[in-house]
């Protein structure tokens, strides 16, 4: 069985190496006619002349070289337009973003001709190898207890060199995805067949991301199901996040597009879904008739009604560890890194400032957006609404949620985004803290202060601090993953939705000393 695991790991790594190498496969050249069509579609007619002389029918050895050429021509033309003060013609979007479709249609060679084959030997092989690595655990660990053996002896799981390399890889992936998508054109090409199958359209970098995200969650979800197979709460929760990602975040939006309806992830809630109220989205929804209006109302009902009601009855967990995509990735792919979250009081202080600042930022941005939408003004208090949106998108939407949120899994734990950044988590957290039936009950005096709960809390809550003083855990950040309870060796912790009375006990007593029992009864 151990050999099988090794084989799985080798296959996975081979897949990964092929995946990365594929970025360097193929050459690029684009015909004049094709270029004309693409520039037409992109309303970049003013680039036509320089593109025809410098790019069309020329051969480029790599996506990097080709992209660099495109961006340099693009920038030169832009400079020229600026010098001529032809402001109406100056192009404001990023040349990288604009380059992707051109680079994609210019691709020549093996990948372009054998997409399915490349899909199998890269992403396919990674998934297959991953499963071969994971499945033998069923047989290796015959009993159903949670096994955290050697977690802190593993380099990848304890910020060792392998962990740092993994972190660097993930961070690089996000930087390429967000800001240099045309460099990863091979990956986008590889997933074309699946995109065409689902939505009928060729893949974008976002389809690539969605597909990888879903596959990783499914494979690592299986790992989670095996690891916690003795714990029904964990099983149900994991199946739930796997389902919501596959159906709601991945398949349904693609099918909507196929049916010529607006793209919508029905479980993504404002303010996590920060561009829900952006003009382009509102316009699109309203223009789509009945279903668009339904989507608009649905989105408003989610944050205005569903969040407070569900959070009152079940706590934050109904969303963060059962439904949410970010949470889902953290709970599956991120599970091996949950012990890396910082548990110090200092981290908690930073967390409170940080997450609530993002929440305020998101709310203010949305107010500005709606103001502009209804008034038609481009500015609010002298600041351009679009620049607020861009700043938020760059800092929070991309850098924080993506690069830090996932890239930092092996460096600082799997819930960096959820804990320090997610505005929705901030909002739900306030409700959980002040008006909810949810708590983690501490079981009388049974705590031995061992620290398993705190160590494996992905949100960095010092669970033991409460448990060892017999106090229920009521914290806005708790996502209710239930792992503290699962790893407790003495049955001290239980997640439950109970009465609001005695939910918070500020003067807890530890059962065992009858001298205090008396005081307790009168209290």
């Amino acid at each position: 069985m151990k050999h099988l695991k090794t084989i799985g790991l080798v296959l996975f790594l081979l897949g990964l190496i092929t995946f990365v190498s594929s970025l360097f496969v193929g050459s690029f050249s684009i015909k004049q006619s094709e270029l004309n069509t693409l520039l037409n579609e992109n309303e970049k007619q003013n680039l036509l002349e320089s593109f025809q002389t410098e790019i069309a029918d020329k051969n480029f050895a790599s996506a990097f070289e080709f992209t660099n050429k495109i961006t340099s021509v693009f920038s030169a033309k832009n400079e020229e337009l600026k010098t001529l003060q032809q402001w109406d013609k100056v192009m404001w979007n990023s040349p990288q973003e604009f380059a992707l479709p051109i680079v994609k249609s210019a691709a020549q060679g093996s990948i372009k001709n054998n997409k399915t084959f490349w899909l199998l030997i890269t992403i396919g092989l990674c998934c297959f190898g991953g499963l071969i690595f994971i499945l033998p655990d069923l047989n290796l660990y015959k009993t159903k207890g949670v096994k955290n053996e050697n977690v802190f002896k593993s380099s990848i799981k304890s910020q060792g060199i392998v962990g740092i390399i993994t972190g660097a890889f993930l961070i690089s992936f996000y930087i390429l995805l967000y800001w240099f998508p045309s460099y990863i054109v091979s990956w986008v090409l590889i997933v074309d067949p699946i995109s065409e199958l689902l939505s009928g359209n060729p893949a974008s970098q976002w389809f690539l991301y969605g597909l990888l995200y879903t596959l990783i969650m499914l494979v690592m979800g299986i790992r989670m199901l095996i690891k916690y197979r003795g714990n029904k709460y964990q099983i149900f929760r994991t199946i739930s996040v796997m389902f919501f990602q596959t159906a709601f975040a991945f398949l349904i939006p693609e099918i909507l597009v196929r049916l010529n309806q607006p793209y919508m992830d029905f479980k993504n809630i404002w303010p996590l879904d920060y561009d829900f109220f952006f003009q382009w989205n509102l316009d699109q929804l309203i223009a789509s008739g009945g279903i668009g209006i339904f989507m608009l109302v649905w989105g408003i009902l989610l944050f205005a009604i569903a969040v407070p009601v569900f959070t009152y009855f079940y706590g934050k967990r109904w969303y963060c560890s059962w439904v949410c995509g970010c949470g889902g990735l953290a709970e599956t792919m991120g599970d091996p890194f949950r012990q890396l979250s910082n548990k110090t009081l200092k981290a908690w202080k930073i967390e409170r400032i940080s997450i609530h600042s993002v929440l305020v930022f998101a709310v203010l941005m949305t107010i500005a957006t709606l103001y502009s939408y209804f008034s038609g003004e481009y500015q609010i208090l002298g600041v351009e609404t679009s620049s607020i949106q861009k700043t938020y998108g760059f800092l929070i939407g991309s850098a924080f949620a993506g690069v830090v949120g996932t890239g930092f899994y092996p460096l600082m734990g799997n819930r960096m985004w959820c804990r320090f950044g997610c505005p929705l988590a901030g909002y739900i957290g306030i409700i959980q803290k002040f008006k909810s039936k949810f708590r983690i009950t501490t079981n009388g005096g049974q705590c031995i202060s061992c620290g398993n709960c705190s160590t494996y809390c992905e949100m960095g809550i010092d669970v033991r601090w409460y448990a060892q003083r017999g106090q229920n855990i009521v914290r806005s950040s708790c996502v209710g993953c239930g792992v503290c309870s699962a790893v407790c060796p003495r049955g001290v912790l239980k997640l439950e939705n109970g009465s609001e009375i005695k939910r918070v006990n500020d003067n807890p007593i530890l059962i065992g000393d009858k001298n205090i029992q008396v005081i307790h009864e009168t209290f």
């Binding site: 009950t441 031995i448 202060s449 699962a486 109970g498 530890l510 059962i511």
Partner: protein
């Protein structure tokens, strides 16, 4: 500046005492002397450090700034001498320390019974951080180990060794696991788990005769009371612990097995107290042992003594007995008294679900049907509820009917009480019906 209270020992008893002293009194000068580690850690968690679940850092229940912030002075040193005449302590590495009041919380040390070979390399007990470090060295790259002593530390050690793929032979003097505490059914249940699920090789009714070594003084095998030789590279001696009172024995403080104290933890010398593992009650609380070497009792003693030192008129008054442990994958909780052999006026009910590794063992009075205690394996129970039931002297019928109030298993787990109450009804010709869980009762367990 208030009086100076010095506590020897920074384990759970000493540290709890220091913390409650500070809570109750802002003036007292508090010093805790401990030589094992600089900061308080959870001894019960040492096994998890060995198994790689945690780093040592994670076993510290309080961040390092906590002590200074709460004005608790920590001295990382060993006490070498107690001078009860001049109220002074001599320390190994630093200057002398004067006290107004002295609290002894020196804990235990592993027992050794003078076996030939017990001092060979690779033979050790497990109690302190230093023991753990030694075990780390002693078990590097070894294949076979023997653990001696069928108690809690023994089974922990077996689990630790097993986690590194080391083959374990486990010698147990009694005819069932943890026989001086657990009834045979319960002990056998655990033994089966160890044997069948984790390939631990158990040897019951077997004692250690002597330990054999090679010319380099390394252990090579143990010889059992049955005359068998078991080859091994490591021997874990976990045959209980006894109060660590070497330091106290040189003084006028009275000792027997431990430091003798009354229920206010007072020793025979004024202003000197003892709590935790090292204390021995001359007149124990009814139904309790004179020496209690459990995390929880250490904590309760520390809390109680802090109150006494702050002038409160209380004495050691622990509620109903409770304890817990984990045997590999099986969690164990106990409330009240489940004796290893039933007393004449007692009756019992045992329900076992081997497949799911669950067992419930209830004991009650034959005549009055008063509930006396429960051993629970694989089912988590609510402490507060059992504490209330035991305090109020509820009947077994009441407890079973309301068992779902006490169920503390995670959500979505099967409620087993319906099964075992059924079995109870059949066995005793009763017709108890399990009631649905009630938050009203759970929140006011003493009301009904």
């Amino acid at each position: 500046m208030g009086e100076h209270i010095v506590i020897i020992g920074n384990g759970i008893a000493g540290i709890t005492c220091a913390r409650y002293l500070r809570k109750l009194n802002h003036q007292t000068q508090i010093t805790v002397v401990g030589g094992e580690t600089e900061h308080f850690f959870s001894r019960t968690a040492l096994m998890y450090v060995y198994m790689g679940h945690m780093k040592f850092e994670h076993t510290k229940p309080y961040e390092d700034w906590f002590w200074k912030k709460n004005n608790i002075n920590l001295v990382f040193d060993w006490v070498t001498k107690i001078d009860t005449e001049s109220n002074q302590l001599a320390l190994k590495n630093s200057t002398k320390l004067n006290y107004d009041k002295l609290v002894l919380a020196t804990g235990s040390k592993p027992n050794k019974f003078g076996w030939p070979g017990e001092n060979l390399h690779g033979v050790q007990g497990l109690y302190s951080v230093q023991d753990l470090e030694l075990m780390e060295k002693n078990t590097a790259n070894i294949k076979k180990a023997v653990v001696v002593g069928g108690g809690l530390i023994g089974v922990e050690m077996a689990e630790m060794l097993h986690s590194r793929g080391i083959k374990v032979d486990y010698l147990i003097r009694e005819d069932n696991f943890w026989g001086n505490v657990l009834p045979k059914v319960d002990g056998d249940f655990i033994a089966n788990h160890l044997k069948n699920d984790h390939e631990i090789n158990l040897h019951f009714n077997t004692e250690l005769e002597f330990i054999g070594g090679d010319s380099k003084q390394n252990v090579t095998s143990v010889f059992t009371s049955h005359g068998n030789e078991i080859k091994c590279d490591f021997v874990g001696l976990t045959v209980g612990v006894s109060p660590n009172i070497e330091l106290v024995k040189q003084t006028k403080i009275e000792t027997k097995l431990g430091v003798l104290v009354n229920k206010k933890f007072e020793t025979n010398i004024e202003n000197i107290y003892a709590i935790g593992d090292c204390a021995e009650f001359t007149n124990p609380v009814k139904g309790r042992k004179p020496i209690e070497q459990v995390w929880y009792t250490g904590r309760i003693m520390g809390e109680t003594l802090a109150k006494i030192l702050c002038g409160k008129n209380v004495e050691y008054n622990p509620g109903p007995w409770f304890n817990s442990a984990k045997f590999f994958d099986i969690e164990y909780q106990t409330y009240g008294v489940v004796p290893n052999k039933l007393e004449p006026n007692q009756n019992e009910f045992i329900w076992k679900d081997e497949k799911n590794r669950r067992l419930i063992h209830l004991v009650f009075e034959q005549e009055t049907e008063k509930f006396l205690g429960i051993n629970s394996f694989g089912i988590r129970l609510r402490h507060e509820i059992f504490d209330a039931w035991l305090t109020k002297g509820k009947t077994i019928n009441y407890c079973l009917a309301h068992f779902e109030d006490a169920n503390f298993d995670p959500e979505f787990y099967k409620a087993f009480s319906y099964d075992f109450v059924d079995a109870f009804n059949k066995k005793f010709g009763k017709s108890i019906k399990v009631k649905r869980k009630s938050w009203l009762r759970i929140l006011n367990p003493l009301a009904s």
